[in-house]
């Protein structure tokens, strides 16, 4: 941890100690759950659940999605507790409840850990333990592998750490089937490959923030030119990967057409980042990457609901 971050952690904790009497608002607890991240996590989990073969009681399905949401939020809360020092140094995050002194660190970590455990136990007991264990793995990966181990140590932080965000489709699928198959594993791989261009686009126009906080994001360590090249390379791996489910009959024509069209736009945005060195191109890629993942998964779900995915359940893996 850098000296600036260590000093900032002490300052944040001292501020919070002074404010112990002031109780945090409900909105602070909501902010701790990172609702915007949660929405994409929930949607990808729901997509995994909806494309899985077999039946699930609507109430059990609701509990499964609720547990994915709470597990994601809990991981976010623990992440914010651990990163309160560097959050205070970045303009994007300094108004969060902990660096702003509206919540005591002990409250945040207790809230996060309680929700994280509750989500796994609830998933295991009410849905099934395959989904429960996958949820526990996602939480542990985000907290220990990404937040604690990688984020402050390597510019590959979001490449490896991105695996945490790729778990939800597998969890949704396992909630229905109690096992895994090739399609949810491909969805894991797609989100894994999607994460680096998504985050590095953001990091390109926020590199000053990350440099101030001592976070070794790729643009800070290797510079914008290397980052732009890496964005293009990962995009060139991502787009063909999204075409695989259709090629293997795991998804139907709606998904095939959507993946091809959306992927072409994604590549165009990634190429634009190579040539347009202003903030505009990475901002556009970042915004489009979110829409891209939503639409790609929506097309997969539409295919499944229309019964156009002939071999979605192929290559099931009994766990």
């Amino acid at each position: 941890m850098s000296d600036a971050a260590l000093q900032m952690r002490s300052a944040v904790d001292a501020d919070a100690a002074e404010n112990q009497a002031a109780s945090p608002r409900v909105s602070d607890f909501v902010a701790l759950l990172k609702p915007r991240v949660m929405s994409l996590v929930v949607f990808s989990g729901l997509a995994g659940l909806l494309v899985a073969p077999g039946e699930i009681h609507p109430l059990i399905a609701t509990v499964a999605i609720f547990c994915i949401a709470i597990g994601s939020g809990a991981s976010g809360a623990i992440n914010m507790w651990y990163e309160r020092d560097i959050d205070a140094l970045m303009s994007r995050t300094k108004t969060r409840p902990l660096p702003a002194g509206r919540m005591a660190p002990d409250t945040a970590i207790a809230f996060g850990v309680t929700l994280a455990v509750a989500a796994v136990v609830l998933m295991g007991l009410i849905v099934n333990w395959t989904a429960g264990i996958l949820l526990a793995m996602a939480e542990a990966f985000y907290v220990f592998v990404y937040t604690v181990w990688l984020k402050r140590r390597t510019p590959q932080n979001i490449v490896i750490g991105g695996a945490a965000g790729a778990f939800p489709p597998m969890i949704g699928w396992a909630a229905v089937t109690g096992e895994l198959a090739l399609l949810p594993l491909l969805l894991f791989a797609i989100i894994f490959m999607w994460t680096p261009p998504h985050f590095w686009a953001l990091a390109l126009y926020r590199s000053g923030d990350y440099a101030r906080a001592g976070v070794p994001m790729l643009p800070v360590v290797a510079g914008p030119k290397a980052t732009r090249r890496q964005i293009l390379l990962y995009s060139l791996l991502l787009v063909p990967l999204t075409l695989v489910p259709y090629g293997l009959d795991l998804a139907g024509a709606v998904y095939g057409i959507a993946a091809a069209a959306l992927g072409a736009v994604f590549l165009a945005c990634a190429v634009a980042v190579q040539f347009d060195h202003s903030e505009r191109a990475p901002r556009r890629l970042f915004a489009y990457s979110i829409l891209y993942l939503f639409l790609l998964l929506a097309a997969l779900v539409a295919d499944s609901l229309l019964g156009l995915a002939p071999a979605a359940a192929a290559w099931s893996l009994h766990l």
Partner: protein
């Protein structure tokens, strides 16, 4: 970080271009297969 000398830089640049060409080829191949399959499905 140690700076690369001119031949090393040239070599790295060649490898990057080769990787880019291979990946672009992969994209073209997958798109070709997808388009043929979609045409088959619609036809």
């Amino acid at each position: 970080m140690a700076r690369l000398d001119k031949p090393q830089n040239k070599n790295l640049r060649r490898r990057n271009i080769a990787l880019l060409v291979v990946l672009a080829g992969l994209v073209a191949l997958f798109y070709a297969v997808t388009i043929v399959k979609i045409a088959g499905n619609l036809g």
